[in-house]
C-alpha cells in the first residue's frame, strides 16, 4: 500500500512539474504511466476516468484524483491530488508574493504589458488546439462559435451558454 502511495506521489509530482502550459499536455504521459508502467487500470478504465473528469465541474486536471482513487482508494486520491497541486501551488504562491512586492514598480508594468500578448495568444492557441482535437463535423465548431459570440457581445450567464451547448450536442447527435 505504501509502495503504491509513494509511486502515486512521485508520478503526479513529476507530471505537475512537466505540465508547463497546463494540465492537458501531460494526459498521454499519465495514461502511459497508469496503464502500461504501473498496471493500475486498462486503457478503457483511463478513458472512463477522463470522461468523468470532464463531466464534473472544475479543472480537468482533477483526473489526477481519479487515478489516485482507482489505484489506492481515498488515500490514493488524497496523495495524488496533493502531489499534483501542492508543489506547483507553492511555487506560484512564492512567485506571486515576490511579484506583489513590486506592484508599483515601473519594470513590473513593462513586464505585464509585454506578457499580455503572450498570455492572451496562449488562450487562443489552446482554444484552436482543443477544437482541432475534437472529431470532425460542424456541430462542435458551430457551438463554439455561437458561444464565443454570445459571451463576447452580451452579459449572458456562462452557465446558460454551457447548458445550451450541452442541449445542442444532444440534439445534433441523435
Amino acid at each position: 500500500m505504501t509502495g503504491v502511495l509513494l509511486k502515486l506521489a512521485l508520478l503526479f509530482l513529476g507530471l505537475s512539474l512537466l505540465a508547463v502550459g497546463g494540465g492537458n499536455s501531460v494526459i498521454p504521459a499519465m495514461q502511459h504511466a497508469a496503464v502500461t508502467t504501473q498496471g493500475w487500470m486498462t486503457d478503457k478504465d483511463f478513458l472512463d476516468l477522463f470522461a468523468i473528469s470532464r463531466l464534473a465541474p472544475g479543472p480537468g486536471s482533477l483526473i489526477a484524483s481519479l487515478v489516485g482513487q482507482k489505484a489506492a482508494g481515498l488515500t490514493g486520491a488524497a496523495v495524488a491530488t496533493l502531489a499534483m497541486y501542492g508543489p506547483t501551488c507553492l511555487l506560484v504562491h512564492a512567485a506571486a508574493r515576490v511579484w506583489g512586492r513590486y506592484r508599483d514598480a515601473g519594470w513590473r508594468v513593462w513586464v505585464e504589458r509585454g506578457l499580455a500578448p503572450v498570455s492572451i495568444g496562449l488562450i487562443f492557441a489552446s482554444a484552436i488546439a482543443l477544437m482541432r482535437g475534437t472529431e470532425t463535423g460542424l456541430a462542435a465548431p458551430a457551438i463554439t462559435a455561437a458561444a464565443a459570440i454570445a459571451l463576447t457581445l452580451s452579459e449572458i450567464h456562462p452557465l446558460l451558454v454551457l447548458a445550451l451547448g450541452g442541449l445542442c450536442g444532444y440534439l445534433f447527435r441523435f
Binding site: 505537475s16 508547463v20 502550459g21 497546463g22 470522461a51 468523468i52 470532464r54 464534473a56 465541474p57 472544475g58 479543472p59 482533477l62 483526473i63 482513487q69 499534483m84 497541486y85 506547483t88 501551488c89 511555487l91 506560484v92 504562491h93 506571486a96 508599483d104 513590473r108 505585464e112 509585454g114 506578457l115 499580455a116 500578448p117 503572450v118 492572451i120 495568444g121 496562449l122 488562450i123 487562443f124 492557441a125 489552446s126 482554444a127 484552436i128 482543443l130 477544437m131 475534437t134 456541430a139 462542435a140 457551438i143 463554439t144 458561444a147 464565443a148 454570445a150 459571451l151 463576447t152 456562462p158 451558454v161 454551457l162 447548458a163 451547448g165 450541452g166 442541449l167 450536442g169 444532444y170
Partner: protein, 179 residues
C-alpha cells in the same frame, strides 16, 4: 502612491471560488476567474490579472489552479491563496470522486458523450470570448496583435512545442512593450 483598493475578506474569496468551482463545467477556469474577480467585482485590474495569467501559464502545473493561487495570494497572502484554492477545488474533488466510485462505465450511458461534447465546445467558446475581452482591454498597437496571432497560430495550428514558442515570444513581447 495610489490608495490601495479595499481588499475582499477571506470569506468572500472562498465564496467566489466555491461558486466558480461549482459552475465551471467543461473547464474554462481562467474565463470564470476573470469574470468573477475582474469583471464583476473589480478586485483586481485588467493588467494585473493578465500578468497573473501569464505567470499561471508559464509556471508548471494546472493553469486554472495556478491562477486561483495567484489571485488569492495577491488579494490576501497565504490565507487568501488557501481560501481560493480550497474554495475552487472542494466541490469538483467531491464530485469526481463520487462519480468515480459510482460509475465504472460512464461513457456507455446513452447521451453522456454528445452532451459532454456540446458543453466542451461551449466552454472553448467561453475561452475565446474571454480572450477577445482581454484583448480589447490590454492590447494596443499593431505589434502586440501580430505577436498574439503568431503565438496562437504557432501552437494552435502548426503544433509547435509550447516551451520553444515561449522562449521566442517572451523577449519579443517585452521588446514590443519597452518603455
Amino acid at each position: 502612491m495610489p490608495a490601495p483598493a479595499p481588499k475582499p475578506s477571506l470569506r468572500a474569496i472562498a465564496w467566489v471560488f466555491l461558486a466558480i468551482g461549482m459552475q465551471s463545467f467543461g473547464g474554462g477556469m481562467s474565463a470564470w476567474i476573470r469574470r468573477e474577480v475582474v469583471h464583476r467585482r473589480a478586485w483586481m485590474g485588467e493588467r494585473e490579472f493578465v500578468g497573473g495569467l501569464a505567470l499561471a501559464q508559464i509556471a508548471p502545473g494546472a493553469n486554472g489552479v495556478n491562477l486561483a493561487v495567484f489571485v488569492g495570494t495577491t488579494l490576501r497572502g497565504p490565507a487568501g491563496a488557501l481560501a481560493a484554492l480550497i474554495g475552487m477545488l472542494l466541490v469538483p474533488v467531491i464530485a469526481v470522486l463520487a462519480m468515480g466510485a459510482l460509475f465504472t462505465e460512464i461513457r456507455d450511458i446513452p447521451g453522456v458523450e454528445p452532451v459532454m461534447t456540446g458543453i466542451g465546445a461551449a466552454a472553448i467558446g467561453m475561452n475565446v470570448a474571454n480572450g477577445v475581452r482581454m484583448m480589447r482591454k490590454n492590447i494596443t498597437g499593431l505589434w502586440p496583435y501580430c505577436l498574439l496571432a503568431a503565438i496562437a497560430a504557432a501552437i494552435g495550428l502548426a503544433g509547435l512545442p509550447l516551451v520553444a514558442v515561449l522562449i521566442a515570444a517572451i523577449p519579443l513581447g517585452l521588446w514590443g512593450a519597452r518603455p
